[in-house]
Each structure stands twice: as C-alpha cells, then as structure tokens.
Symmetry: C2
Subunit: 425 residues, 2 copies
Amino acid sequence: MDIKQYMQTVGRQARAASRAMAAADTNVKNAALLGIAAAIRRDAAKLIAANALDLAAARAAGLEPALVDRLTLNEKTVAGMAEGLEQIATLADPVGEITDLKYRPSGIQVGKMRVPLGVIGIIYESRPNVTADAAGLCLKSGNAAILRGGSEAIHSNQAIAACVKEGLAKAGLPDTAVQVIETTDRAAVAELITMREFVDVIVPRGGKGLIERLINESKVPMIKHLHGNCHVYLDDAADRAKTVKIVENAKTQRYGTCNTTESLLVARSRAAELLPDIGRMLATHSVEMRCCAEAMAILKAASVDAALLKEATEADWYEEFLAPIIAIKVVDGLDNAIEHINTHGSQHTDAIVTENYTRARRFLREVDSASVMVNASTRFADGFEYGLGAEIGISTDKIHARGPVGLEGLTSQKYVVLGDGHIRG
Amino acid sequence: MDIKQYMQTVGRQARAASRAMAAADTNVKNAALLGIAAAIRRDAAKLIAANALDLAAARAAGLEPALVDRLTLNEKTVAGMAEGLEQIATLADPVGEITDLKYRPSGIQVGKMRVPLGVIGIIYESRPNVTADAAGLCLKSGNAAILRGGSEAIHSNQAIAACVKEGLAKAGLPDTAVQVIETTDRAAVAELITMREFVDVIVPRGGKGLIERLINESKVPMIKHLHGNCHVYLDDAADRAKTVKIVENAKTQRYGTCNTTESLLVARSRAAELLPDIGRMLATHSVEMRCCAEAMAILKAASVDAALLKEATEADWYEEFLAPIIAIKVVDGLDNAIEHINTHGSQHTDAIVTENYTRARRFLREVDSASVMVNASTRFADGFEYGLGAEIGISTDKIHARGPVGLEGLTSQKYVVLGDGHIRG
C-alpha cells in the first residue's frame, strides 16, 4: 500500500464530502446519527468479536493492564457508544445560525453565520469508543472527519467504521464523510498532519508524548491541550469548610483526568490554620504531599503521616502527576499565587477559594487559563458539566476555542452581507 | 548582535508585558493611545526626517515607484496615523466582557470571558503607518505586540516606535508592550515565527510571496490571508441594472485590493442579455477580459473592443490579477457557480446578484468563503464597512476569526465558573 497515495485519496474524498455535510439539513444529520447508533446496537456481538482480536494481540504483546482495560469493549460500553450518538442527535445544530445581523450606514446588512470548519482529523489512542464519539460530533457539526485510532484497536475501529458508513449511507450522506484510516502504518499520521489542502484542523487526543510529537510535526492547525497542571489557591479570605471539600474533590475524585488538581497554593496568613485539616484529609486518601519548607513544617507539626510528606523540587511545580500526589506551596498572597499559576501552570483550569469579592474578580481576570473558577472544584472543567452536551477534547491554546470543545468549537463564523445593489462609495 | 539572543529577550519582555496589558484598565489603555497620538503629532517633523533617510535609500536601491509611494510619510499621512490611534481610543474595549453566564444543574454558574490572545507578532512590508495602526489595535485589545516592519522602512518605524514607547510609559504601562524589532536581519523573522513560548499568534501582512514563506516556516498559529480571488456570480434571476453597477464597483473601484473581484460568473440563461452591457462598461475602464469560449462569442458579437478580449486559460480562474483584468465564465447555474467558486476561489469574498430568495439562501450557506454577499459589491469586505472600527488584517483561515479581523479577533474567550463551595458529584 502506498501510504501517501492512500492518504491523498482519503483527503480528497473528505474534502468533497465536507461540502455535502456543510449543506446537509439537521434532520438528515440526526437520521445518520440514529442510524449509526442502531447499527452499533445490532452489531454488538460483531463489535465485541472484533475487539477480542485486538485484546488477544494486546495481551500477546504484553500491553499494560490499564491499556488493555481502555481497549476493552463489552455489552455495556457498546451500548454506551450508541447512547452517546443518540444524545448528540438531541443537541441543537450549531450550523447556519446567523447572529448580529445589523444595518450599516452604507445600507448593507452585515452579520455572522456559523459554519463547519470543513475536514477534521482526529488522532487518538487505544479507546475504540472515541471512534463513535468523534464521528458523531464531527457529523452533527457538519464536518467531514478522518479518524486515526491507535494501532492496537484497529479491528474494533474498523468494525465501528462499518456501522458509521452504513448510518451515513442510509441517511443519504456520503459514506466518506467519516473515514477511519485502515492502516496502522505511522506514515499515515505524518501525511494526515501535513495535508493542509485537505485537512482544516487536527484534534489530537492522547498522552503528552503523542501531543508533543504532533505539535512539532503538524502543518495543520490543532485544537489541543498538552497536559493539565491545575491549581487550587486558598486565599486569605477562604471559607475553611469549603477549602477541605474543594481540595478533596479536586484532587482525589479521580487521579488520571486532566482537570484533577496537581498543585495547592495557600496564602501565608491562613496556612497554619488550613493546612493541618487538608493534610489529614489527603492522608486518608494516601495522597503523597510534595511540600515547600513552610508547608512541610506545618504538616509535620500537625502529625500528618510523615511517610506521605516529601520536599518539593522545582520540577514538582510544573508536574502533572496523574497520581495520588499533590504539590503544596505557601505563597504571600494573591499576586504571588497568580504569578505562580501563570508561570508554572498549563493554562488548563485553576480555582481560587475565597469570600473576598475584589480578589475573586482579580483572579478571574488575571489568571490566564482556559477555565478559571471561584469556590468550585477544578473537576468541573468538562463539556457535559459546562452544558456543551458533549466534548471532543479540551483546548489550552489561545486562538479559536479554549477549554472544553463541543459542537460549537468545531465550527467558526463567516460574514454574510445582504444588499440591494449596494456599491462601496 | 546575536539575533537569537536579541529575539529571546524581546520575546521574554513581551510575555511579561502581556500580563500587565491583560489586566490594564480601559482608561489607561486609552490614555496610552492618546499619548502616542500626541507624540506622533508633536514629532511630525522628526518622523518625516527619519522617513527621508528611508526614501533616499529606497531610491538609491532603485525601488519601484509604487513601493516608494507606500513608504512615503508626509504631514497628511502622519496626521492620519494620529487620527487612527485617536479613533481606536473611542472603540469599545472588548476585554473582560462576560457572556452566557448561566446556572447549570450542578449549581455552578458557567460563562465566557473575553481575554487578549497574549503576544501578537506582526510582520509587514513597506508601509510605516502599519506600525502605529498595529500597535494601537494590539494595545487596545490588551495584547503585547512585537512588530517587524520592512527593512526599507527601518528609520521611519524606529521613529514611530519612540512615540509608542513614550505614550505607553506616560500612561504607566510597560514600554515593552509594543516592541519594534531594531534589526533588519531576516534571521529575526525566523526567530519570531518559531518562538512558541513567547508568541501566541502571528499576523502577516504583505504580498503572496511573504505569506507563503511564513506559512511554510511558522511554528506559531497565524491569522492571515494568502490572496483574494473574489467572484461575482450573476444568477438567472439577477436584476439587470444591479449587475452592471455591482460588477463595475467590484472590479474597477480599486485594482490593487484583496476584495476586488477577479472573476465574473454568469448564468447561461442570462449571458447573452447581460454580458454585452458589462463588456462595454469594462471596456470604458480599459479592463482586459479573459473569457471562456461562450463569453468570448457573446462579447465579440456585441462589438466590445477586441483588443481587450483574450481567451481564458485554466490558470486564470485561480488568479488574483490585482490589475485591470477580469476572468469571465458562463456557467450552467447556481450549482455550477458554487462548485467553481469553492474549487477555484480563495475563500475570501464572493457575491451573488439575484432576486431569487431560495438561491440567495443557498449561496450564503454553501459558498465556503470568509464573506458571502447578496446583491452587494465585494469591495465591502472591510473592517470599517463591517463596523469593526478598524482592522488588523483579513483572515481566510477556518479556525478563529474569518474575514476582516478587528479588536475582537485579537481576543478569545476563556470559561469562568462561579460556585459556592461546589464539588463534582
């Protein structure tokens, strides 16, 4: 197989399909989503059988249990994929919405129309359910998609792809509107991220290693986040009960998600009062605490399990632990906290706990992250929690979408101008 | 001078200044704009003297008269720069605006806050007035800017830069918020477009050659357009009087602008009726017509000056002539016109002339360009005409801003979340 030629064909077909998708009626797109869901439900046994081939290969190759777990499809996860698609069908169609249509002094009316981005390339790792999710979101937002899943999920992904094709075709849409790459050759990714004539945006989903490589090699704009080093800052005016509750949820609800808090900052004026309770709470979850000297002294004096206390290194302030580990630092106050977050953070999600109106306002404005929060857990940074209905990923970039990216993030706005024979003077 | 080290210093200073700019009050930013304008008015003679050095060098180097013309500063153009800045001071500040703040079922409030992009790198050619314009727009939108003008304008740009620094400092803002590169070494551009840690977006302004080179080499996202191959399509239901009026304005008002029409498409059912008048009108402006065979036959039969009629080549359908030349093609109808525009166009600005409601709606939705128009001249695609107040450039990209980019295009939106001790369930 000539990979370059194959990818060029995929790209050309996607570009052609994107025109039909952009013009497709909402009810036709919804029919395709429901058709794909129905095919997935009907083919559950087939999907699980295809998945068994991937699982056998993964085990033979000695893949880590966590990866095998993510790769696994069963009746419940297959039903979950179908439900996800049915839910996307219920979301409002963002395409075609016209806003801000206003008369100008020249007499023309100028407004903005929301339109699909065109062709979206999605590169992801082992979870096969991303194939159905991503296909559904791209379809509903009027885009064509090129999906490239992990090589370890190739049989599962191709089986899901067959359902997607069937749903598209039955609804009268081009079955090339969603193409799942059929080769596990890495050269296909290299082509995908450089075919600027056929691909409008790349959404990578995966570990930091994958994303870093793609950032360096991509010639196509990306909607992405590299990692999540989220902070909770306990301000001088923090409500004591809220501090323990929010830190517990933000750190310990799930350790492996990008919106989990990795660093805790505490205003010096409250450190001796607040840290002991928090340290004891973290110890009940066996969370390792990497502390600055001041925090260490306070936690030691409070008899927090010494086995869980470590001296923090400079690198810890930058780290996404994805584990029961948290970095803890005592800071002078708000200015120092904002400076620390903007310097060491990942511009993902950061929260302040405070009852002080002025400092809450300043934190919201001056912390340069995709999500900034007052008195809430960083774990809320999520498309469903924000009301987007679903999310294709999270962006920590500055242009286009920031934070959780839903259907609207897969669109942009063009200008529409209505005249009656108007010419420019 | 070590260019890499110099640019790293510029980048680091810009990143630091961008924090102060993001937090700056509207009245402080306006004071800086007015201060820069005042310094420019006061230093008019100095600016013109600095410009004389550039002009002498340009003439000695044998620069084309059109380039020398663009490079020239005089009392009128200097006053124009100051007026431009004063006008930017009157525009609404986009920064900090919170929209869509809504309660979610979990109890949190989620909304979006408009924030600056951070550090904007602007790369432009000979016009020195871009230095003042770009500085003003970046400043008002709360961004820090790194400006790299053409080497032929180095003295003029440095003189303007002194006024910018003075205005910033007097208003209490860091004078590194706008830095004009002091070297003409091309290596500085190579650094600017690859310093991802210090530069959030690049806005290139210049000819196709410059933009193409930057697209290939940039590691930083860009807001840009490569060229403008704008179309007017005369539909089966076009109003005859409007066709001549719009084509005349769109093609002949100015030949060198990116929103000038370069291709004319005519529905076959109306070609024999509409083309003779249009051909004669274009002939009075000495516009060369590059025609498909059908259009050629009609125009010849109508006795349009044969010296102005040429056979079109395939390349002409893609061409931005920037000259008194237009490509003319007879098409089957709307489908054919949309297909032609989406294939050969530059996704800049395209217009339909029609009285037909359904085809007008389809053209607006299905033509994939930054600006789509009904019964209006493509010349309207402009920040002032659209009510943006000013524009930093035009984007034909799909993500972020499309079309004329004003203050809002130099910002994005982050999420703000307000809770009262809320945690995720």
